[in-house]
Structures are given as structure tokens and as C-alpha cells.
């Protein structure tokens, strides 16, 4: 996890809970990149990820007064972000509006010569799309567990704290999710 835990966060959260808006910027500075990566790993769409992070901080400000002062702010913010990402994902799914971003390049030259680098790019992109598709087929909570474990390197305990799950549920979610992804990437569709 990136820096952000500890007394500094608690103090900032306490100030936020007291309505001090100036605590928002330093709190965001501590958590912006981490929350962005959580949202991006979940949604795989930079604009959506950014929207989610913004919403998360607005929500954090609004909910700060309900924050349990003994809890760590990092997991609390992480949970808000994951929940908002799940909401966004469901909305997008309804609109069939999800998209895996791509690297951009000179299209005309690709068309003209079909160079090896273009082939490599296509291969990388296809591998990324397969991975994205496998992740996207997971149930919402299982995907959150996988993202926090394998994109954020969180321990099982940290995941449990962030998602408000028991340790046993985290373990079984991770097991099922990896099994499903294995089947997806092998060509099946569980």
C-alpha cells in the first residue's frame, strides 16, 4: 500500500469530520494515485476511473462525520472507491458502454505496411483484452477481491478490511475467482 495510513490520515479525517474542507486536498494527495489504480483496475476505463475517484472523495467528505475514528482511513476510502466502481460498472453494463483502452499510433502506416511492431501491439492488445474479458466475467465482489490482491498487492486481511468481508469469504472468493479466470483464459466460459 502507498503511504497514507497512520496518524496523518486520522488527523485529516477528524478535520474533515469537523467540516474543515482544507483537509480534503492533503487527504487526496495521499490517496489519489492508489484509489485511481483501484478504480482503473476494476473498470479498465481511465475516464470512468477518474470519475469514480472524484465521487469517492466527495462522498468521503460528505460521510466524514460518520467515519469511525478508530478505523484506518485508507481501507475506508478504498471501500468507498470499490463500491462506487461496482456501481459504475453495473451502470455501464446496462448501457453496454465498457471499453478497454488501447495504445494509439499512426493508423495509416499500420494499414500500409503491417509492420512487426504493429503485430506485436495487436498481440499485446489481444492479451489485454482476454484478461479484461476474464476479469469482467467475474461476479462484482469476486472481481474486487482479485483486483485488490493482484493489482494492489493487498494481504487477505487488508482485503477483508477494505471490503468489509470475513477472512473466510475473501479466501473462498479469491479461490473461485482465480478458478473462473483460469477457465476463461483457457478458452472456456464458466
Amino acid at each position: 500500500m502507498e503511504p497514507g495510513g497512520g496518524a496523518g490520515d486520522r488527523e485529516l479525517m477528524a478535520r474533515l469530520a469537523a467540516g474543515d474542507r482544507e483537509a480534503l486536498a492533503p487527504l487526496m494527495e495521499r490517496h489519489y494515485r492508489r484509489l485511481y489504480r483501484i478504480a482503473l483496475s476494476y473498470l479498465r476505463q481511465p475516464e470512468d476511473a477518474l470519475d469514480v475517484v472524484q465521487e469517492a472523495f466527495v462522498k468521503a467528505f460528505r460521510s466524514a462525520s460518520r467515519w469511525d475514528g478508530s478505523a484506518e482511513a485508507g481501507p475506508w476510502l478504498g471501500r468507498i472507491t470499490v463500491n462506487l466502481a461496482i456501481d459504475r460498472w453495473r451502470r455501464n453494463r446496462r448501457r453496454a458502454q465498457t471499453f478497454t483502452p488501447l495504445a494509439e499510433d499512426d493508423h495509416a502506416s499500420e494499414l500500409a505496411d503491417g509492420s512487426p511492431s504493429a503485430d506485436q501491439r495487436v498481440q499485446r492488445r489481444e492479451a489485454g483484452e482476454r484478461l479484461a474479458a476474464a476479469l469482467h466475467r467475474l461476479p462484482d465482489r469476486q472481481r474486487a477481491v482479485v483486483v485488490l490482491r493482484h493489482y494492489q498487492d493487498m494481504s487477505l486481511e487488508e482485503i477483508a478490511g477494505t471490503l468489509g468481508m470475513s477472512l473466510g469469504t475473501v479466501k473462498s472468493s479469491l479461490h473461485r475467482a482465480l478458478g473462473r479466470m483460469r477457465a476463461s483464459l483457457a478458452g472456456g466460459r464458466p
Binding site: E29, Y151, R182
Partner: protein, 258 residues
């Protein structure tokens, strides 16, 4: 027996995920050593984990500087708290460095999902630096971002059109049909984002003609099956060439990127 089997399978997954420790780890390793099927499963699960760990998204940098996001969030908070017409004192606390960051250091499209170089990362201003980000400055920032979104949309649309026009993969040789993969699906996804690009208003006004032509082409691709008659691919390719669409996309993308 069944419970024991399920537990072992779960242990293999958790072993692949790298979360077992101590006695559980030893037990899982011992079990895998004596179980060929479990070893195979472990290998496959490790490949899944390795694919995620190699995913560039893990290290992706936010493409919008922190100060801009702070400004947006504070604006939202302000909206919720202050009745319309009241002054916005928090604006004076925002850093002037943000304006410079957006003018000169917003990551380009090309570097969008690659890890930013250290120098570029350092250019993202700390939230507590400097005074003053005015409404005008914020408007300029939003304009730049709208243009970036439009540029990205066009760039991705170009990729889709290239994927269709350049395909040479047979999916049904006898029927002269070509595989266009996920291009129809991606076209539909892009068309779903069209409204977001349009919301850029005046900031993307110069791109309107290209955006309209791109939309027409994407609609055609969106209606295709993934296995398309060669003659349809050829027709689409000719249409793209007739409208000089790829060149116009490239030029407009560059213009929008500034």
C-alpha cells in the same frame, strides 16, 4: 472426503495467489508435490496471476493532475454546501501550479497507460503548493481535458477502422468471409461514448466534421457480424479511403492534442 478435497483445491488457488504462510503453506506445498493434477492446476493458476501482474494497468498513472481533481472535488463539495450566488473562498487555496501542470504536463495520449517518466510525475503539483486557481483557469483545464477525450476517442475509432480495413484473416474461406474480431463490439462501445465527447462543446467544435464521419463509419462496423463477407470489408475500406478518414483522424487528433 469431499470437504477435504474442496479445501485442498482452495489451498492450491491460494498458493498460486501467494497468500499462504507458515503451516498452511507447507501443507499446500506437500500436497501439490504428491498430486500431479494439482501441480498442473497450480501452473495454470500461476499463469493467470502472472498475466495480471504483467498488466500495465497496475502501474498506470492518473492522466489528470491532482490539483485539477482537487478543484473538481471541491467544486462538487461547494455545490452541495453553498447556495447559488455565494462566493467560493476555497478557490483561492488552490495551487497556481495546477494551471502550469495542465498546460504543460498533462500526459499525452501516447503515454496514457504507460508508466509516466519520473520527470512527468514530479511535474504533478503537490496539493498544498502555491496560491490561486481561478474559474477561468479551471475552465481552460476542462477545455484541455475535453479535447484530450475527443482525441482519444478519435484515436481509438481509428484503431477499430484499421482493424476492419486491414484484416486478412479468413473465418470462412469457402464463403469468402473475413474475421473482424471484436471490431463491431468496440464500435458499439465507442458509440456509447460519443455523448461524452460531444459534451466537450466548443472545445471540440473544430472536430465536429470528423466526429460525424467517424460516427457513420462506426455505425457501419457496429452492425457487422464478427465474420464478414470480404466484399463488405472491401466496401468499408473504400469508404474509409474515399473520405480520407484515417488521415483526417490523425490530423485532428494531433490538433486536439495541441
Amino acid at each position: 472426503m469431499i470437504l477435504g478435497h474442496l479445501r485442498r483445491r482452495r489451498q492450491v488457488s491460494l498458493l498460486a495467489a501467494g497468500v499462504l504462510e507458515g503451516g498452511e503453506l507447507d501443507e499446500a506445498l506437500r500436497h501439490v508435490e504428491g498430486c500431479a493434477r494439482c501441480r498442473r492446476e497450480l501452473e495454470e493458476l500461476r499463469a493467470v496471476v502472472a498475466a495480471m501482474e504483467a498488466d500495465p494497468l497496475r502501474e498506470a498513472e492518473p492522466e489528470v493532475p491532482l490539483a485539477v481533481v482537487v478543484a473538481r472535488v471541491e467544486r462538487e463539495v461547494e455545490r452541495a454546501l453553498v447556495p447559488a450566488g455565494r462566493p467560493r473562498p476555497w478557490l483561492v487555496a488552490l495551487p497556481a501550479a495546477a494551471l502550469l501542470a495542465v498546460a504543460f504536463a498533462v500526459p499525452s495520449l501516447v503515454a496514457r497507460l504507460r508508466p509516466a517518466p519520473a520527470a512527468a510525475r514530479a511535474a504533478i503539483p503537490p496539493a498544498e503548493a502555491g496560491p490561486l486557481l481561478t474559474e477561468d483557469a479551471l475552465a481552460r483545464i476542462e477545455r484541455n481535458l475535453a479535447r484530450e477525450h475527443a482525441a482519444r476517442y478519435l484515436s481509438e475509432a481509428g484503431e477499430v477502422l484499421v482493424a476492419v480495413a486491414a484484416t486478412g484473416v479468413d473465418c470462412d474461406r469457402a464463403a469468402e468471409r473475413l474475421d473482424v474480431g471484436r471490431a463491431p463490439e468496440r464500435s458499439r462501445e465507442l458509440l456509447g461514448r460519443r455523448a461524452l465527447v460531444q459534451s466537450g462543446g466548443e472545445a471540440v467544435a473544430s472536430a465536429r466534421g470528423v466526429l460525424d464521419d467517424v460516427e457513420l463509419a462506426l455505425r457501419e462496423v457496429a452492425d457487422l457480424p464478427s465474420c464478414v463477407k470480404r466484399v463488405d470489408v472491401e466496401r468499408l475500406r473504400q469508404e474509409v479511403e474515399r473520405r480520407q478518414l484515417l488521415m483526417r483522424i490523425r490530423l485532428m487528433t494531433r490538433e486536439l492534442e495541441g
